[in-house]
């Protein structure tokens, strides 16, 4: 009897712990396409909305990955998945993405892809800052403004572009490493959402219609 009670207690405890774990899962169908900026090696883009189904804040671990495979399912190339925001509160939605620039000269050899979402042991802490999208004739820029009284070191800016169905069709983030934005000053980040890429997306029924811009730094 005692053993049964102990076993049930251990089972309930482990279930409780599992429930307290953070869990990042896919919230919608993913989007994957291949594009080349300069007609040489292709870049494979992968975007997907995710949600934290757990009861704790969650970040992606460095083991989270996106890979492209041959017909037999063997991985040909691989990249770590990134997420915006970098940490999701319980029930919060975010987006995961990868830009895999492959050296494979023949994009047709890419028969399938695979992704793995793994939660980090400890969530990242970050601070958000306001940003605005600047539409130029060339690349799109995000302007990040430091509205705090401190210097904003190593700032990152991001863009999330969605189509008419609300699907993420382009996501990018840029880091200004070893750079500090003084209080009240701004810095523009190139987001690589070029007119050619927008034309490509329109031709493939993935025309971006909304853009979300933001900035953050890690604590």
């Amino acid at each position: 009897m005692k053993k049964t009670v102990l076993f049930l207690f251990a089972l309930l405890l482990s279930l409780g712990c599992a429930n307290a774990y953070a869990s990042i899962e896919l919230a919608n169908t993913e989007i994957c396409y291949t594009y080349s900026y300069d007609g040489t090696f292709p870049r494979i883009y992968f975007f997907a909305d995710v949600i934290n189904q757990g009861s704790q804040p969650a970040s992606l671990s460095s083991q989270s990955s996106f890979s492209i495979n041959d017909e037999a399912g063997n991985p040909l190339d691989k990249q770590t998945l990134r997420m915006i925001p970098v940490t999701l509160r319980p029930g919060e939605k975010g987006v995961v993405f990868a830009h895999l620039t492959t050296t494979l000269p023949d994009a047709l050899s890419i028969k399938s892809y695979r992704y793995e979402l793994q939660t980090a042991a400890f969530p990242w802490e970050y601070v958000s800052y306001p940003a605005e999208l600047l539409s130029d004739t060339g690349e799109s820029y995000i302007r990040l403004t430091n509205n705090s009284s401190d210097i904003l070191w190593n700032p990152q800016a991001y863009i999330i572009s969605r189509d008419a169905n609300g699907m993420p069709v382009f996501v990018n983030t840029t880091l200004a490493y070893n750079t500090g934005i003084p209080s009240g000053q701004s810095l523009d980040f190139a987001m690589k959402l070029t007119p050619d890429l927008i034309d490509f997306l329109k031709k493939n029924d993935l025309a971006p219609v909304t853009h979300e811009a933001g900035g953050f730094t890690y604590r």
């Binding site: 820029y141 302007r143 210097i151 840029t174 200004a176 070893n178 750079t179 500090g180 934005i181 003084p182 000053q185 701004s186 810095l187 523009d188 980040f189 190139a190």
Partner: protein, 233 residues
């Protein structure tokens, strides 16, 4: 007959003048001074930092390209060669560039032999597709905020006083001897791909290894931190 001969000689003469002129225009003349070697650390962490100056003595712009730093012993034997980088990547006629190299001394075949001297070598080529304007912005060496991964920061203030946004430029810092103005240590170059709006300013950090500052202090060497900005025209 006489006229034909005259025309022939004139043509040959003009051709020779043209070839000589063309040859003179593409002739590259350059030199590289091996200014300073700093040996820091010991054992597995022993490292040498090399600083030098590239002089473009031609009347055309040149790209030094990737260079080499050759280490020699007291007998003049080559101990090792390591890659050397020169910034900016394009040197205007009569201009100068800053050469940087580093080497883990534990990699020497005989660590006890010691490096007695060094030299730089390049294969520069004519290049006029890109040019840079050099600026010397304000900078401050922060002796208080040591970064264990990178060293002591030199914070450079980059101001955009122009009417257009400023982007795609290079930033570097070097420690200059107050006695003879030679470069003592040159940092790695920071490539700045983001854009500073017109009228705005930001900071960027270049780092000096702790061991370098400690050595200069030990040798009582007076120096100044100098920042350089290379903005493409």
């Amino acid at each position: 007959m006489k006229l034909k001969r005259t025309v022939f000689l004139l043509t040959v003469g003009l051709l020779c003048l043209f070839l000589a002129s063309a040859s003179a225009q593409t002739e590259i003349s350059w030199s590289a001074t091996a200014d300073t070697m700093l040996s820091v650390g010991s054992g597995a962490s022993a490292r040498a930092y090399f600083a030098g100056t590239f002089h473009n003595e031609s009347d055309i712009a040149v790209a030094p390209g990737s260079g080499l730093c050759t280490l020699i012993d007291e007998s003049g034997n080559v101990l090792a060669t390591v890659s050397a980088a020169c910034f900016p990547p394009v040197i205007p006629p009569g201009g100068k560039g800053y050469i940087r190299a580093e080497y883990p001394l534990s990699g020497l075949p005989d660590p006890d032999s010691g490096v007695a001297g060094f030299s730089f070598s390049f294969e520069p080529y004519p290049f006029d597709a890109l040019s840079y304007t050099e600026f010397s912005p304000d900078c401050t060496l922060d002796n208080e905020n040591f970064n264990p991964l990178q060293g002591y920061p030199v914070t450079v203030t980059i101001e955009n006083d122009g009417h257009a946004p400023m982007e795609n430029f290079l930033c570097m810092v070097y420690l200059r001897s107050n006695a003879d103005q030679k470069p003592l240590y040159i940092t790695e170059t920071v490539s700045f791909y983001n854009r500073i709006p017109s009228g705005g300013h930001v900071f960027t950090n270049c780092y000096i290894p702790r061991a370098v500052l400690e050595l200069l202090k030990e040798e009582k060497t007076d120096y100044s931190a100098v920042a350089l900005l290379f903005l493409p025209n």
